[in-house]
């Protein structure tokens, strides 16, 4: 795991939202953190290169764009796990995919711009893998908040 110093942690904890919309936003954000804009940019480059951050930018809420976002799961036989993971991950509609300890051992999120894109993506996964996809569309969202403070 990459080493994080106090400034890295401050960046991670304070820049998960509300990035300024102004001509020089990095300089403005950096001032609030007590560093220069150049230093903030350098640190963000390093945090992205070392995969501490997966991204820095806008996070889109696809349902508000008219699209769809569905959690789905597969029960993958052990001997086929890597092969099936490659087949599933090859679809651009698969936004993320996790191995989990359960009979349903592969859990992924399908995100599509059109409502009917989900059914098409599920059909393609079933055809490619020969496995039935269990879809768990959300019926109600109680809370979504990705903000977690750095503990490392």
């Amino acid at each position: 795991m990459p080493e994080l110093d106090a400034v890295d942690r401050k960046i991670i904890d304070n820049l998960q939202g509300d990035f300024p919309l102004c001509d020089e936003p990095y300089a403005v954000a950096a001032r609030q953190l007590g560093i220069s804009g150049e230093e903030l940019l350098e640190r963000l480059r390093r945090l992205l290169d070392t995969r501490v951050l997966t991204r820095f930018g806008p996070l889109v809420h696809i349902e508000r764009m008219g699209g769809a976002f569905v959690l789905a799961a597969l029960q993958v036989p052990d001997g086929r796990y890597d092969e099936v993971a490659d087949l599933v991950n090859a679809l651009p509609e698969v936004a993320h995919n996790y191995r989990r300890e359960h009979a349903l051992n592969m859990w992924f999120v399908l995100a599509t711009e059109a409502q009917d894109g989900i059914a098409a993506a599920i059909a393609r996964i079933e055809e490619a893998t020969g496995l039935p996809v269990h879809a768990f569309p959300k019926e109600r969202e109680y809370f979504v908040e990705m903000k977690l403070a750095a503990r490392a």
């Binding site: 990035f19 996070l59 269990h134 109680y142 908040e145």
Partner: protein, 166 residues
């Protein structure tokens, strides 16, 4: 969804141009504007409007939970009485270690669970303790639960919309 706000071609172009990340340069909105063919002021105004409409949830850093010390991640799932799930789902979602909380359909007989709460900790024991707090909160409204620990991230690119619409 019929009530989704209408995005025009420039909004879409802005999302496509920034979904991999904002440029890491002193004036990122100017660079995005040059790419899309609008002024920096228009980029900022449109991003602001999409934030206000909830189309963009937020602008900022998206951390890899594992790399920042949240090394244990459990999808906790619960079989909660239908008539109480909405009230209790809101309370579970407000716990500080829960990052997502949703109601989803059961898939009987194999999958009796209708409430999903994603929990993060720095060890499996911490996640188990957190799940126990959820169980206590749900009380006898829950007929059972499970924790699905993640053992590997297979893919994490986030949402990618395609360049060509329609």
């Amino acid at each position: 969804m019929s009530d989704a706000p209408k995005l025009d071609a420039i909004d879409r172009a802005l999302i496509v141009a920034t979904q991999g990340g904002l440029p890491l340069a002193a004036r990122p909105y100017r660079l995005v504007g040059e790419q899309v063919g609008v002024s920096a002021e228009e980029v900022m105004a449109r991003l602001r409007a999409m934030l206000d409409a909830g189309i963009i949830r937020r602008i900022g850093a998206v951390p890899n939970h594992y790399a920042i010390g949240w090394t244990a991640n459990g999808m906790t799932v619960w079989d909660v009485a239908d008539e109480r799930v909405d009230e209790l789902g809101g309370r579970v979602g407000s716990l500080d270690f829960v990052t997502h909380c949703y109601r989803r359909p059961r898939a009987l007989p194999d999958w009796p669970y209708n409430l999903f709460a994603m929990v993060h900790g720095n060890s499996r024991d911490e996640v188990r303790d957190q799940a126990a707090r959820i169980a206590a909160l749900l009380g006898d409204a829950s007929r059972g639960g499970d924790i699905l620990f993640s053992t590997r991230i297979l893919k994490k690119t986030g949402l990618r919309i395609q360049v060509a619409a329609d």
